[in-house]
């Protein structure tokens, strides 16, 4: 697996790493039970603080995507819950594709659609959580 972190985007590196591992799991690039590099190995490879890798791994363990085994490393665990999440993502992608097609038919440019999405994404998140 190759990960590529970009420090200048303003997005914390541990979040970038989490997203890339999650994405690799969703697409099947990483398989159930597959072992990820150790914290030290990956930190040296990516030239990031070991705490960055440790934080990403520990958050992913919390989400149930990784299992950390004392002394032997991190393993991908696609439990049923994770698999159904993967399915949800696939369904969501299809629905988004349909919605975007409709918006395009209404004459919206891709740039305008993107802005509208980003604006809405930040706004209601707090409300949904409550």
């Amino acid at each position: 697996m190759f990960f590529k972190l970009n420090p200048t985007t303003g997005q914390p590196l541990y979040l970038q790493l989490m997203q890339q591992i999650r994405h690799a799991a969703e697409t099947g690039a990483l398989q159930d039970g597959e072992q990820l590099p150790g914290i030290r190995t990956l930190a040296e490879e990516l030239v990031v603080s070991p705490n960055t890798v440790a934080k990403a791994y520990s958050e992913l363990e919390h989400e149930g995507i990784l299992e950390l085994r004392q002394g032997s490393g991190a393993f991908l665990t696609l439990k049923r819950r994770t698999r159904s999440l993967t399915d949800h993502v696939q369904v969501a992608r299809r629905r988004l594709r349909e919605l975007i097609e409709q918006l395009r038919e209404h004459g919206l440019m891709d740039e305008e659609i993107r802005r509208a999405f980003e604006a809405e994404l930040l706004y209601p998140a707090e409300v949904v959580r409550k």
Binding site: P7, T8, T9, G10, Q11, P12, L13, Y14, I39, R40, A43, E44, V47, V48, S49, P50, N51, T52, K55, R115, E118, A119, L122, Y123, A125, E126
Partner: protein, 297 residues
């Protein structure tokens, strides 16, 4: 493993006549982390580091390094055994060869790791038989760094370690910092290079004009700072956005650009209430956070 701060200062101050080099510094550096001490040239970084190591006397205030008081000569000696320090000007004996320098240094430290020294000598491609005085600036820096990295200190204090290094040298340096951190060494390094800080630092302290302006985890900084660009159908109601966390507001026609250090959600909510026709929220990199913080000061 230590769980108290490796560096702690209270009101640490150094003045030269009427010039305040360091002003009431309250610094707290946590163990098992890479902490970057970020500031422009002349911000007071080297003065602070020299006070921490007991090399210059504070005008007032106090501090501890690894729990040892910096102003106490006896405690200072104990502390220096567990701290590896690389000075800004990388002082070395120019008449010695690389090999002699390494052997000389190794005789002073009980925590010396000969295997690491050998490994770094070949990684850094340092010519063993060459005299220090004939080394390039970059090679001198590498040699000075090697002398610190070949020990197993509790704390590494590096003053502008990347100064004079080419891109390959900087890459080696950052890799070594990461490896040292994985070995459990706490690292405190000063720098004015955003690009290296944002890659390896866990924690960022921003010093400007002798004052500590930011002391926060890099992740937390990046997660709380946001740039919010708004557009209205009428001249923007700027006053409505002067709320806590909003650092700067710029206006151009019907567009408003806001930099927030926190509370971005509240700004967006207000924008919706005021019928903004476009709301864009973007993360802000360390470069902009640094430039903005320094400008405000």
């Amino acid at each position: 493993m230590r769980n108290t701060p490796v560096i702690l200062t209270h009101d640490l101050t150094k003045s030269y006549g009427t010039v305040m080099a360091v002003h009431g510094l309250n610094l707290s550096v946590e163990p098992n982390r890479i902490t970057a001490f970020l500031g422009q040239n002349g911000a007071g970084k080297s003065t602070t580091i020299k006070m921490l190591l007991g090399m210059i006397r504070p005008t007032c205030g106090e501090g501890t390094v690894l729990g040892k008081r910096i102003a106490n000569a006896e405690e200072n000696r104990e502390m220096r055994r567990k701290v590896a320090y690389v000075a800004e000007n990388k002082p070395l004996y120019s008449y010695m060869t690389v090999e002699q320098t390494v052997r000389f240094a190794s005789s002073f430290y009980s925590d010396w790791r000969a295997d690491v020294a050998t490994k770094l000598l070949s990684e850094y491609r340092l010519p063993n038989k060459r005299k220090v005085k004939s080394l390039s600036k970059g090679m001198r820096t590498k040699l000075a760094l090697l002398l610190a990295f070949a020990r197993r200190p509790e704390l590494l204090i590096l003053d502008e370690p990347s100064e004079g290094l080419d891109p390959v040298g900087i890459e080696h340096l950052l890799q070594t910092l990461v490896a040292q951190s994985a070995d459990g060494v706490s690292i405190f390094f000063s720098s004015h290079q955003i690009a290296e800080v944002e890659r390896v630092a866990d924690h960022v302290c921003i010093l400007d004009n002798g004052r500590l302006l930011v002391n926060a985890s890099l992740d937390r900084l990046l997660q709380s700072y946001r740039r919010i660009d708004l557009a209205f159908r009428f001249p923007p109601p700027e006053q409505e956005f002067r709320i806590a966390g909003v650092e700067r507001i710029r206006i151009s026609g019907n567009a408003l650009s806001i930099l927030a250090s926190m509370n971005a959600e509240a700004v967006v909510e207000r924008a919706h209430d005021l019928n903004a026709v476009s709301v864009e929220v973007a993360p802000v990199g360390l470069r902009d956070i640094f430039l903005e913080t320094v400008k405000e000061n």
